[in-house]
Subunit: 212 residues, 2 copies
């Protein structure tokens, strides 16, 4: 059966996004310095060969274990699940060819027809909750896996419901001081995890946890 | 000059102590399951040879890089600094021979004579702020280093004031869901850190950051 996983960048102080990184400040990267902070958080990914190829940024780039992991992680995704706020920001920020290339299930109260994008991404708008989104994602994913893409509240809901099999965190040596925390409202219903693998690089520590 | 460092265990969701682990529940380890959670956070240390020897728990125990790091970290401490709440809990919880074996500077409003314990630990009560405590600790430490022992608020004050040179974190694969967060109220005045070393073990990921 498909695995359900989270793969996310995290600041050392536990934020997946800095304060000020929100739809209303998209055109103001200096607002609370959000763009520089985001860049520092994700600095590990920008020069990777697979990242560059996937976003059509040109040939070349770093290879090695982190590049291999990024390729493996990306290619095993058969479906994505995300929250409405992440979708709203992405609808404005993603290129026309949205960077998913799978079915994407958006948890929302809004009723809307599926939105088909070039390059294999189709957004489906799910109004009846996280279990329904997961069930639909399982059908779409087939023998590939399901990524809970975010935001924090959606990750927390799937964690607390016990649906998350794997947590992949790229822990960057940056302190944001504020923003959206990944781990909040974590309930005692969350299953135990164990460390499965650590990749140690200068830009980030890549931590992989699986169910204990 | 002496380095100022923090060395602390952290849950994956960013807590240095679980909810319920407080002076008033010291005799009730089942309260919010705090004792089991603390034990899981610190499981990496209990079987280390140096930890066992230092706490006189008997001979034997695990050797290797984490044991070596613990020995090195402990032996380089020439003075400790802590907050009043940590001291209050420790005054009740530590054995007669308190586990510091150095001068310990307690930030407090309480005026009190130095408290000398067997085994080389003397607690000094500092009423005039963190810079004064640090200056006194530098004198006591000589060419050894200064550990900011906790709690979270004291660590945050020293971080925000730019006094912390090194951060050592033992990141355990446990989720607490609540408790005392290490990184809160972090200001933009905190200097940048870089990853210096990562020790990867099944019980915890030992992360060492130094000033960039």
């Amino acid at each position: 059966m498909s695995k359900v996983f989270v793969n996310i960048g995290l600041s050392l102080d536990g934020y997946m996004a800095p304060e000020g990184m929100a739809l209303e400040h998209w055109d103001d990267p200096d607002y609370k310095n959000w763009a520089a902070k985001w860049g520092a958080l994700m600095s590990w990914i920008h020069d990777l060969e697979y990242f560059r190829a996937n976003l059509k940024l040109g040939p070349g780039g770093e290879t090695g274990p982190v590049n291999d992991q990024l390729k493996h992680t990306t290619e095993r995704i058969g479906a994505n699940i995300m929250g409405k706020r992440m979708f709203d920001a992405g609808e404005r920020g993603w290129p026309e060819e949205a960077p998913f290339h799978t079915a994407v299930y958006v948890l929302t109260h809004e009723k809307r027809e599926p939105w088909v994008r070039p390059g294999g991404t189709t957004f489906f708008f799910v109004n009846d909750g996280l279990e329904s989104a997961l069930a639909q994602a399982r059908v779409a994913a087939g023998d590939r896996d399901i990524r809970i893409a975010g935001g924090a509240d959606v990750v927390q809901q799937y964690l607390n419901a016990g649906f998350v099999d794997e947590l992949e965190i790229a822990l960057a040596p940056v302190l944001f001081g504020g923003g959206r925390r990944l781990f909040e409202n974590v309930a005692d219903t969350v299953p135990a995890f164990r460390i499965e693998r650590v990749l140690d690089t200068p830009q980030a520590t890549h931590l992989r946890y699986v169910r204990a």
